[in-house]
Every structure is written in C-alpha cells, then in structure tokens.
C-alpha cells in the first residue's frame, strides 16, 4: 500500500492568511502572540472571510461565499483554509463520492454558543434560526462538503490537543484503505470563552500575561511557563498516489506512517512511555530508523511538565540518534492552536520539508536539554527528508505522524 500524498495545504492564522505568508513568517521567526485586555493570545485579528476568498476561482468562490458567508468565524476560517488547499491541489476533478472530509476538533462551537447566550438568553424569540445548525461541530463538515461537493465519508474526530493529528491519521487511513481518493483534513479554529481560558489557568497550564508578550511562550526553555492559546484553521488535501499520478499534480510530501494511542489516564498527566510508543509505531510504519529522522515538529507547548515529558520520550525512541534531527515547536510562533494544532504543524512541517529549512525556536535562550538539536534563534537551510510531528492531548491521547519529503527532480 503506497503512502497517501499531501497535494495541497492551506492556513489562516495569526501569522498570515495563506501558506506563503505563514511560511515567510516561519522563516522570519515572527511570533503572532500579543496581549490584549490583559490576555495573551495569537489571534486571527481582523481577518475577513470575504476578502480571503476574493481571488478564489469561480465557481468555488461563489460556492464558498454562499455556504459560509454567514457562518461562525471558525467555520468561515476553515472554509478559507480548505479552499486554499483545494486550489493548491489543482482543484481535484475526482468524483464527489471519492472525496472525504475529516475535521479535527470538538467543542468547536463553545464560543458561538457563549456569544449567542449573551445576546439572546433573555429574548429567546429572536434566536437566529440557524442556531441549531451552527451549534453543531459537524457544521464544519456539512459546510465544507457543500463547498467542495464532497459526498464521500466525512466526520469530526476529537483528541483534545492531539485532534489535528487524530484527523490526519483518519484521513490518511481513508485514503490508504481506498475508501476515498482525496481527503480534506481540516484543523478547526478554537475560540476560547472566558470560562475555558479560566479553566486552563486554574490548572496552571497558561503562561501568565506579565512581561513582554513576545517572550511569553518559551517551548523547551528553562524559563518556560505554560502555553499561549492561538487561533488558526488549517487544511491538508491528502490523495492516493494513484489519483495524484493520474491528475499529474505535484506531491508536496508523503504520509508514510501514523500512530495513535492512549495512556489509560483521564488527567493532564503526560506519559513519556505513552508518547514514545506512538512515535516508535509511526516511525516503524514509515520504515524510518531513528538514525534516519531529520526533523521533529514537537508538540512543545511550553508546559513545564509536557515539554520535559516529550524530551524524555524522544530520548527513549531515538537513543544516541537524539542528537541528529532538528527539533522545533511551531507553537512558539503560532501559540497553541489546540484542536487545529496538529494540522497547523503539518502545514509547517510540509513547508519546511519542501522549502529546505528549519524555522527558529522562539525564546529558546536556555534549552533544557543540551543533547537535543534544537533549532536556533534564526532559520537555517536544511535538507529534510523524514519528519515526525507529535501531538498529545489531555486525557492521555497520544499521536505521531511521519512526513516524507518528495524532492521533485532530485
């Protein structure tokens, strides 16, 4: 069975509203993290859906506007990312029933429901008639399927902060099993409510909003102090090798190995053994030996315990080869995009494989581990062939995805 191919990527996040802008920001090591109203976040800002799809070819543009013109912001952002990825994939002409849609995340409508509660709880007669549709996580699936005329399999998948990778795993399996030829994998934008933010604060998971916002998120630094939430929607188009070859489209990367596993633990208590198990399984599925791995896109949220646990797992999996791969955390720049993090980091990984560089590590003044080859303060060129992208969620949900570069023409 040949590995599913990544034939298109798309993103809308604090660093930019498309893949070229995002990639440029990664190269520059630019952080999207700001502080507003005493709260740290890497926000989407004043992004506009209508402007985002302005250059999209017809009839896709009209379909997108009609389907998502009045959608809640996470759905609109997801559609914009999907449309970018679909155009980048050469507007696949595969039959609709051979196109699948897998959306990463859960509790995606909490902010929408929270905001409408504020406006309508005391005057329910005027509750917008679309509420019952928009209040469902699967509004993402329905809306994206309408935009693409996709009639294959589709669903949301949840795995807390591992959701993005969980979706990539399921999308890759749909393609590998021949259920669909093309699968759109979408990382959904998480908008926190004050309650959800406070919940993370109560667990001690968030970086405190004091000091310079640009220095707040410090993955793998001795002075790290928790994560900073980020807003992003991201998308991949996965396609079978046969279908991509038939269409003659460039393959940006392959997904030769994926793995998921649980810790048997409902807490925010990561396990190095559980994390190592999925990393090993993904590498084994991809046929990649520890000494062949070139790059690790770490889960690296800047959590004190989480980062330390991930490093212990990397040591366990790679042994002496732990010094070989470049390691960075995209979350230092984008913030932790929660449900979409795995897909955001897949877009970042594919951009680095295809672009031949590793993006800088944000705020890594004093790395906690001197045997690991962390990316430095500036981007550097690197030939990367095999990459591992990790994602770990509360409740012991572990995931790992291997990407392989395709160097067209050698």
């Amino acid at each position: 069975m040949s590995a599913p191919a990544v034939v298109g990527t798309g993103i809308v996040c604090s660093l930019g509203a498309d893949v070229p802008a995002f990639t440029a920001a990664l190269r520059d090591g630019r952080s999207g993290i700001t502080r507003a109203d005493g709260v740290l976040c890497a926000p989407l800002g004043d992004w506009s859906f209508r402007a985002a799809v302005d250059d999209v070819p017809e009839p896709l543009r009209t379909r997108a506007l009609r389907a998502a013109g009045r959608s809640p912001r996470p759905v609109a952002a997801a559609v914009a990312a999907v449309v970018e990825a679909w155009v980048a994939a050469g507007l696949p002409d595969v039959p609709g029933d051979r196109v699948g849609v897998v959306v990463a995340g859960h509790n995606l409508t909490d902010r929408y429901a929270h905001d409408l509660h504020e406006s309508y709880a005391h005057r329910l007669d005027y509750l917008p008639a679309r509420f019952a549709l928009h209040a469902l996580d699967t509004d993402h699936v329905g809306t994206i399927s309408e935009v693409l005329s996709a009639t294959g399999e589709g669903y949301t998948v949840g795995g807390a902060s591992a959701s993005g990778n969980v979706a990539i795993v399921h999308g890759a399996r749909l393609v590998a099993a021949g259920v669909v030829d093309c699968c759109v994998v979408v990382g959904a934008l998480t908008e926190l409510t004050p309650l959800h933010r406070r919940g993370f604060t109560a667990l001690g998971a968030l970086a405190a909003p004091d000091g310079d916002p640009a220095g707040a998120c410090r993955p793998f630094d001795a002075d790290r102090r928790g994560f900073v939430p980020g807003e992003a929607a991201a998308a991949l188009v996965l396609e079978s090798a046969a279908s991509a070859a038939r269409r003659g489209v460039p393959v940006r990367a392959l997904v030769p190995g994926v793995a998921l596993g649980l810790d048997g633990n409902r807490l925010a208590d990561p396990s190095a053994a559980g994390e190592a198990r999925v990393m090993r399984a993904a590498l084994r599925a991809a046929g990649v030996e520890p000494g062949e791995l070139d790059y690790v896109n770490a889960h690296g949220t800047a959590s004190r315990l989480g980062d330390e646990t991930e490093l212990a797992a990397l040591h366990a999996v790679l042994g002496d080869a732990v010094a070989r791969p470049w390691v960075n955390s995209t979350k230092g720049l984008t913030g932790h995009c929660l449900a979409s993090a795995g897909v955001v980091e897949a877009v970042a990984t594919v951009a680095q494989l295809a672009g031949g560089f590793v993006h800088p590590s944000a705020n890594l003044a004093n790395p906690v581990d001197d045997r690991v080859r962390f990316a430095g303060a500036t981007a550097r060129p690197a030939r990367l062939d095999r990459a591992l992208s990790n994602g770990f969620g509360f409740g012991g949900i572990n995931s790992a995805v291997v990407f392989a570069a395709v160097h067209n023409g050698g």
């Binding site: 007669d125 917008p128 008639a129 679309r130």
Partner: protein
C-alpha cells in the same frame, strides 16, 4: 421602518448575492434565492428588527414576501 423594509433588509442580509431590485412584493422567498433555513432566518431577523414576536408555527406555510409582511404587520 416599514414591515416590508424590515423583511427586505433581513433577506439581503441572509442572501447578500440577491439583487436588491428583485426584492419586490409578489415574489416568493425561494425565487429570491432562499432555502427553507434562510426563510426561517429572514423571519427571525425581521421580527428582531421590528421588535415583534410571532409564534414560529404561524410561519409554517408562509413562503412569499407579501404573506410574511402581512403576518408580521398583524402582530405589530
């Protein structure tokens, strides 16, 4: 704001691609590009604009602009 203006504004908010000049008495909402969900949305938005409350059940078989306007006017 007349009831008709409230309905027209609500409709154009829900289906902005519709030509405003086409929103005239005598048209059905379907002709103006509305799905059944759009129609329900137009009704709740127009109720909110006018500050009136009409039981949703009364809109069940109401599909043209004139009938929606008449029903809202009745409760104004």
């Amino acid at each position: 704001m007349t009831v008709f203006e409230a309905v027209k504004e609500s409709l154009l908010e829900v289906v902005p691609e519709t030509d405003p000049a086409a929103v005239v008495p005598g048209r059905t909402l379907r002709e103006l590009g509305c799905t059944s969900i759009d129609r329900a949305e137009v009704v709740t938005l127009a109720m909110e604009r006018l500050g009136v409350v009409v039981p949703i059940s009364e809109f069940q078989d109401v599909n043209d602009l004139d009938a929606i306007v008449a029903l809202l006017a009745e409760h104004r």
